[in-house]
Symmetry: C2
């Protein structure tokens, strides 16, 4: 078996094996007192019940779409689509299950110190990270072994995107309906602490954290990884022969080294990630943030060395290696900028805390100002990386090489995805552990141990979002290019005579020349793509508004009608609140999802393929800015509140704190529903276009 | 003298003469009781003092820029820039002065019934509308008569854009700092009504309404008109001869009819506007909204008939006339959609009112959802109009004809600008009259007479914003095309040999082919253009946050420290609040303004002209969506509050009302600062690029 296949398989085996070991070692840990076990049981049942219902709805839809794709395009696309959807769902499901197990054990372990708690939480996160990357790489390697041509298994990425999209929307609406409802009535109106067992929405809130942050995020990063790699592989198989040979089915000469490069790059990075997880250690008094940083740095360094050896080994140009370095640098810069905007050590977040003294409205205006400012630097970094990677990889001489360079830069970013997800998944585990500790009344000393971990979790969570959306912005470009390649293929098939005398690349350039900024169809597409992002975000927010509204009314009703609830003599009706979240999420996840899928199809069929190209980039440009605005703004609002809780501007219970809670609540659906859902949204419409390109052309010719 | 010159001059003379008559007839009206006179005097002094300071700062900056442009480009550009800046400032200044006179008299006239008050308010608005269009058309006709070539007086539009930009930012920060501060402490904390003389920020609030809504809006629409017409004229002078002839200075054959068409179209529309103002009449019991609708419809119908006669008279293709019809249809659709999203008769605004019952956070989430949804339909209308106007005007055969068609469509939209501004300027006059009536304690019956006019004013205000930004989106495309034409001219001058054998139009098409969506430089520009809009909006919001923060603290301090204030025994210190608004506005108007001017220059010089083309369209795409989001969202929040005040969901004083006030306050800087400022922002960067294009090329060749 060739190295391009066995190396990825070996990496996958190592990752899955190691993940299995981690699961075993987590389950061995003690869950502590009975109360923790009890809460753990309730969360587990609630989370699984929701995912089962969500996936059942979703998977029947996916099978229908898969069959349709199989009939309309080819059977491989249909099969790979369904496999991708199931893998993404599995990644989310397993990731969440592990997180639920780790939550309770982290809460219990906090008694024995921060170090132990950190270890369990990070192990839980690492399982998700390794599994997500492992499953994606496994699927891609299997399909590559079977079919070789990545366009045949583009459906794998598309299936993953669609599941991730609905997982993000549904999970996001679930968790934020519960969270907003619980906070507004519990914390603001009734004045009881977060996670207080008297709050009827507290269980829905816990379950939401798992289905939103864990399952949603795992599915999201699974698709990010799969789609990015498919994008890179698609750019490696652009034929260098005459256009007609492509139709005749003659041996189109691909660059085999470029085709397997992404797979092997992924394999190397996966090994690096496994080693990196061992670097996450606190000696005893080491800071948790240092431990995590160690893990990321070790992974990045090993990856870079591996990339260098791989690039020379495959005999590829050094320009491609430099493009990979660009990707790593982008990740580091995004992390630094994200930290500046969301940590309360710096001006942006503190300005929100300060503004809270003038009431909720000024807190909100200030938070919106900070949020709207936050995309500037990340977008400049990403925008600058495009021509840099493009020209380093030889784009000046050959546009295909240039975009391959951009694709490799994103692959390099994703090489550290495994460790970043580990760190991200760690966030909600600690968050939940903290909540469980509160609800199980484990005592103040345990909370004190978990609190610094919780703040760290906030930062890592927003880091992943910045990272995911940044990579999405770049990956979308590879996919747009791949889309145009498919358009050319389709054109050649439909009208071979017109391409009798040109090479495939010349045909491609003639198509690229048609998507200028001065084509009225392209302009139409650009405008519609831009506004689609806002409409999508609106529908996500609307879902949360509806859910939160019902939740607030329900919690108010229970406080009012259940006698002895506030005195702790009666139990609230947790199940009704869970039910509100479930119903709101399932009912409201369809509209935003369909807004992503339907308009590109209409534009492609009615206005044409040029307009769709415009739509794709319009959505990417606006989506990148909006996603960072929402994710960072939301995190800044959250940490501005935390800064006040440290005792600044009056501290907990002051009017400034009340104002900051309103801001935090408004930021919730920004950062956990609409913002992160834009990432799979951008990739879903791009994958959709790549796959349906032949159909758009076919109809235009009828 | 040729008809193309005397017809516009005649129209300008008629408009200015009629405006003079209206001013005279307003000044003849009685200002009523002494208290109204007193308040009127204070507002007048405050408003003029601010504009004097703002313009002084601004005009010295403009003179420096004008001289620099004169030296770097040519003296005509410098001169026309300064003239444009002064005209825009004059339009704002006169418009505001008239509005201040009309405010007090409308308040006094309300005693004699709605009909009389409506008449005075509308007269005041009509002065602004007629003056704004008249001054712009006057300047353009004079420059056309003198120099003929519109590229020489492109500076006129650019100067107007820059003044409008700063007027919108400065005025917007002034008015919203005062408004937010007055509302938050007065209405929310102290529970006194809006406009109550005990509120220290009330005078700053009144002054703000005039400098923001009146002066800012007049300058804004002056530049919209001037820039749009220059854009259309630039597309008419693209040479049809060989490229080299352009360099040799030989008689480049322009299409004279196409060049004068926009000027004559403007003249016809101005006559139609004068006639339209007479149609604004309420019989006695007619509804005010019907009266205003009559005016718009009459203007539109006369304009369309005139356009038809003009098009046939000049012997131009009927396709151009159809493109003009597209523009009129777009305006009508934008008005209908805007009404749906901002009136409390419909779901979007009511959903915010309903959500307010669950507190401010859910009101805000719901309002953001509505705001983010609102651009979808308007952007689809605008996006669809582009290929329609393009192909109707013959774009399939000749891209230049196509974009000329798009430019004519915007000109047709603007043909009803005069009447729309009249209606818009009417809004703040009634708003202020209502406030003055409250402060002068004229009695409940007068308020009751003014209240329906106030609600109508809210709708007309948001209509103008939708209209202005919609036209900006289309005008930006003409300007982008004009920018590429300038790039070609520059290239030919720098390297004549390369263009020896092609026509100018062939050279142009070869340049257009370089701005494809797959150019990494264009992509970089697209991303940066998109994020620039968010950064700009952020800095505007930040200015308001700072001003509101200081204002809240000052008002709180006065309530606390001035003995007897709440009992009406002592007077508040109005001047200090005015001073806070003035200082905040002047200090914070520079950063957003510079963010608009500096980055395009850096991108143009450092990355190149292709990247700047990307930046322009990226900013237009994102700017259009964001501007509508902010303007419509803000208006919906405002009217959601008004719907509750009608007695729904608990009415005034209920918790839902308190929540809605927070939402309204957050919406304030959206709809009156950041949102409307995006319109001149988009045009300023486009004009800047058109004018500086030769420099970008020159440096690239060094």
């Amino acid at each position: 078996m060739e190295v391009a296949v066995w190396l990825p398989f070996l990496a996958v085996a190592a990752a899955l094996g190691f993940a299995g070991y981690l699961v075993w070692s987590i389950r061995r840990e003690d869950m502590g007192p009975e109360k923790v076990r009890e809460i753990h049981g309730v969360i587990k049942v609630g989370a699984k019940a929701f995912l089962n219902r969500q996936y059942k709805t979703l998977l029947s839809f996916m099978v229908i779409v898969g069959v349709a794709l199989g009939l309309a395009i080819n059977w491989q696309t249909g099969v790979s689509f369904i496999v991708g959807a199931c893998s993404s769902a599995a990644a989310g499901y397993i990731g969440m299950t592990v997180a639920v197990e780790a939550n309770a054990r982290t809460a219990a372990a906090a008694k024995q110190g921060v170090g132990k708690a950190l270890r369990i939480a990070f192990k839980g996160g690492a399982v998700t990270g390794l599994l997500m990357v492992g499953l994606a790489l496994l699927g891609l390697t299997v399909f590559y072994t079977l079919w070789r041509d990545p366009i045949l298994f583009a459906g794998f990425g598309f299936g993953g995107s669609i599941v991730a999209l609905f997982a993000r929307i549904g999970g996001g609406i679930y968790t934020k309906s519960a969270d907003v409802g619980a906070d507004l009535v519990g914390k603001v109106e009734a004045g009881i602490p977060e996670g207080d067992p008297r709050n009827p929405a507290v269980i829905a809130d816990f379950v939401g954290d798992n289905v939103g942050d864990d399952a949603g995020m795992a599915a999201d990063l699974f698709e990010t990884y799969a789609v990015t790699m498919i994008g890179a592989m698609l750019l490696a198989v652009i034929p260098t022969v005459s256009a007609l040979k492509v139709v005749e089915g003659g041996a189109a000469i691909y660059n085999e080294a470029k085709l397997v490069y992404p797979l092997m790059l992924g394999a190397i990075a996966l090994f690096a990630t496994i080693i990196g997880t061992f670097a996450v250690r606190t000696g005893g008094k080491g800071k948790p943030s240092t431990a995590i940083l160690q893990g990321i740095v070790v992974t990045a360094i090993i990856s870079i060395i591996g990339f260098y050896l791989l690039t020379t080994g495959l005999g590829l140009s050094m320009g491609i290696f430099y493009a990979a370095i660009v990707g790593v640098v982008v990740t580091v810069l995004l992390a630094v900028i994200n930290n500046y905007y969301t940590s309360y050590a710096y001006r942006p977040t503190r300005s929100i805390s300060e503004a809270s003294q003038a009431g909720p409205a000024v807190n909100l205006i200030s938070g919106l100002a900070t949020g709207l400012e936050s995309p500037a630097l990340p977008v400049i970094v990403i925008a600058a990386s495009i021509p840099i990677a493009f020209f380093l990889a030889g784009g000046a001489a050959n546009i295909i090489d240039g975009f391959y360079g951009v694709a490799v830069a994103v692959m390099a970013m994703l090489s550290i995805a495994g460790i970043i997800v580990s760190v991200d998944a760690f966030g909600p585990i600690v968050d939940n552990a903290n909540g469980i500790a509160e609800m199980a009344e484990l005592g103040e000393d345990i909370r004190a141990g978990l609190d610094p971990l919780d703040a760290l979790g906030n930062t890592t969570k927003s880091l992943t979002k910045a990272f995911a959306i940044g990579s999405a912005g770049l990956a979308a470009l590879s996919l747009l290019f791949a889309y145009l390649v498919e358009v050319v293929r389709g054109m050649i098939h439909l009208n071979p005579e017109a391409f009798a005398k040109v090479t495939f690349q010349e045909a491609l350039l003639s198509v690229v020349d048609k998507v200028t900024l001065m084509s009225p169809k392209v302009i139409l597409g650009l405008f519609i793509g831009g506004v689609l992002v806002l409409l999508f975000a609106s529908l996500c927010m609307r879902g949360v508004a509806k859910g939160a509204f019902s939740m607030v009314n329900e919690v108010r009703r229970q406080f009012r009608e259940i006698k002895g609830l506030m005195e702790g003599k009666a139990k609230p009706d947790y199940a009704r609140c869970v039910d509100i979240s479930v119903r709101t999420a399932l009912k409201n996840m369809a509209p935003p999802g369909l807004v992503v899928i339907i308009p590109p199809i209409i534009i492609g069929f009615v206005v044409g393929w040029e307009a769709l190209a415009g739509l794709l980039i319009g959505a990417t440009v606006t989506g990148l800015a909006m996603a960072i605005f929402m994710a960072t703004g939301g995190a800044a609002w959250d940490n501005a509140k935390k800064y006040i809780e440290l005792g600044n501007y009056g501290g907990k219970g002051s009017p400034a704190h009340a104002a900051a809670v309103v801001g935090d609540t408004v930021g919730d659906p920004f950062k956990d529903t609409a913002g992160p859902a834009i990432n799979p949204m951008i990739k879903a419409i791009n994958m959709l276009s790549v796959i349906l390109a032949p159909l758009f052309l076919l109809l235009a010719f009828l």
